[in-house]
Symmetry: C2
Subunit: 316 residues, 2 copies
């Protein structure tokens, strides 16, 4: 099934009973700080604490009974792992999750809480992929890739669908980019419904492979990502990059300082918890890298799984 | 004007254009942790970050033009100060705020941001009252007491009004008690609309003057309050205590450890910011001090003005 608006609408119909319709928050203070009129789509309130519940649930519920019979598998250190474990439990099938041994304790607990079966591996891409391949060979489970899977991308696009229903007259939509699953779904949804809305990808300068790739016209692998935005350390996927090239107006990078300042402003002003990756679009506005003045701007707050023992402004 | 349901409804009509209708959040995980079905009224999302905007706005807008002409005054180290400053600005009159010199920087900034004129004083009740009396003598401003003022109490009662509109079939309502302004308004609103709902006051064991007073049958002054719940260090007011005696079923105290655990659970699970005082009702459920099992319970999350540089679980 190609990734198009029909696929995203079908995903929405499929997952709607199992996810939250998340609210859109506004703030006169954050508007004043940036000059724009901002609409924050709160995926930090989503099931499992991030938008990943959308894509993972759509993927699991899209499987035929034969495909689903032996369960699902993935490798992830983060939000996709918990989302897939929950999706599998909804369907009553096992989820085999390969996690690097240095994953944070809260992320491990979340996967366990949803009944995921964890296989730990060394913290390298190669070890993750090899371990995952071994688990799949042993179990017959279906691989659900965190961002190149089209069913996952279609599910992630449902957040933008809801945002456009609530705020039809947006002029800009800002979305973080890591592997590019959310960005792909968002771009397809937005450009299919209202092509005039500009879609801007935002990423940390310390993990700017999407910006480099966009400038070069071909994918440049991420080299030693260095950012607190742990959800955005992954390099962009191949199909995701193709969609980015076709549908995204610009890729904006932000400093670590801006990410921390943006995160803090969101916590203090909106009184909600977001993780560092979720603050990246607002950081781009704080850095004045986009013409915000007088514009109606949608921002996707991607997740709220923040480690409360390690707030970045308290690190010494 | 006596504090009754009519006064609370009139307050609601008066302040509604100037405050947020705050949402009521639910969480299957927090339900599972306590055995009840919980409804969190999110006054942390209220204007100025706490329910205090309700009472202060009602008081300021209730003044005659002659009463309002010379502005309003109060002494407060916390949320009432910012709320009164904002209320005065809405009406275009000055607000004279007496604050202890050791008030936290964020609280001082909030009052300044709303245009309040601050007079600092020594951090004792006596210095606060004397300084406030001097300011009133010099300016002719109208005293708006943070919790014994009936217009303030009526305004605070509007949070319960909204909660009962959204969740009419509650069986218990849990409310923190410090000076008792919110408790008084809540108790009158709830008992007037649906007398069967039990109203429970909750407070830190380290500032348990309401519990002691309730047991003794007369007011016992607060002696050296020791709690991180800075909004609840004040002793209960005289009219507030009379309402508590008449309308409140029980006063439950909680430990500092429970307050911190409750706060952390709310941040991690609801993904929202609350200040320590706001976590006290949920702490009472965590301590199993109330028969929660199977019951529909309303909790007022009173405010979200948390100092993000001083999270209690990070103190060493």
């Amino acid at each position: 099934m190609p990734l198009d608006l029909a696929a995203i609408r079908a995903a929405h119909a499929r997952i709607r009973p199992h996810i939250h319709r998340t609210p859109v928050l506004t703030s006169t203070r954050l508007d004043a700080a940036t000059g724009g009129t901002l609409f924050f789509k709160c995926e930090n309130f989503q099931k499992t604490g991030s938008f990943k519940a959308r894509g993972a649930t759509n993927a699991v519920l899209s499987l035929t009974d034969a495909e689903a019979a032996r369960g699902v598998a993935t490798h992830s250190s983060g939000n996709h792992a918990a989302a897939l474990a929950r999706g599998a439990r909804l369907r009553g099938i096992p989820a085999f999750i390969v996690m690097p041994a240095n994953s944070s304790a809260p992320k491990i607990r979340a996967v366990e809480a949803y009944g995921g079966q964890i296989n730990f591996c060394a913290p390298t891409t190669r070890a993750r992929e090899e371990t995952c391949a071994r688990v799949i060979a042993a179990t017959g489970a279906m691989l659900i890739h965190p961002f190149t899977d089209e069913r996952v991308m279609a599910g992630q696009g449902t957040a933008a669908l809801e945002l456009l229903e609530d705020c039809p007259d947006l002029e800009l939509i800002l979305c973080p980019v890591g592997g590019g699953g959310l960005l792909a779904g968002t771009a397809i949804a937005v450009k299919s419904i209202k092509p005039d809305i500009r879609v801007i990808a935002t990423e940390p300068a310390g993990a700017d492979d999407a910006a480099q790739s966009f400038a070069a016209g071909h994918r440049i692998p991420v080299d030693q990502p260095a950012t607190i935005a742990d959800g955005l350390r992954t390099g962009i996927g191949e199909p995701n990059f193709a969609i980015l090239q076709r549908h995204v107006e610009a890729v904006v990078t932000v400093s670590e300082e801006s990410i921390v300042a943006a995160m803090r402003a969101i916590l203090e002003t909106l009184k909600i918890i977001v993780e560092p990756s979720a603050a990246v679009p607002y950081a781009a506005l704080l850095e004045r890298k986009l013409p915000a003045a007088g514009r109606r701007i949608g921002l996707i707050l991607t997740g709220g799984n923040l480690d409360l023992d390690a707030l970045p402004w308290l690190k010494t």
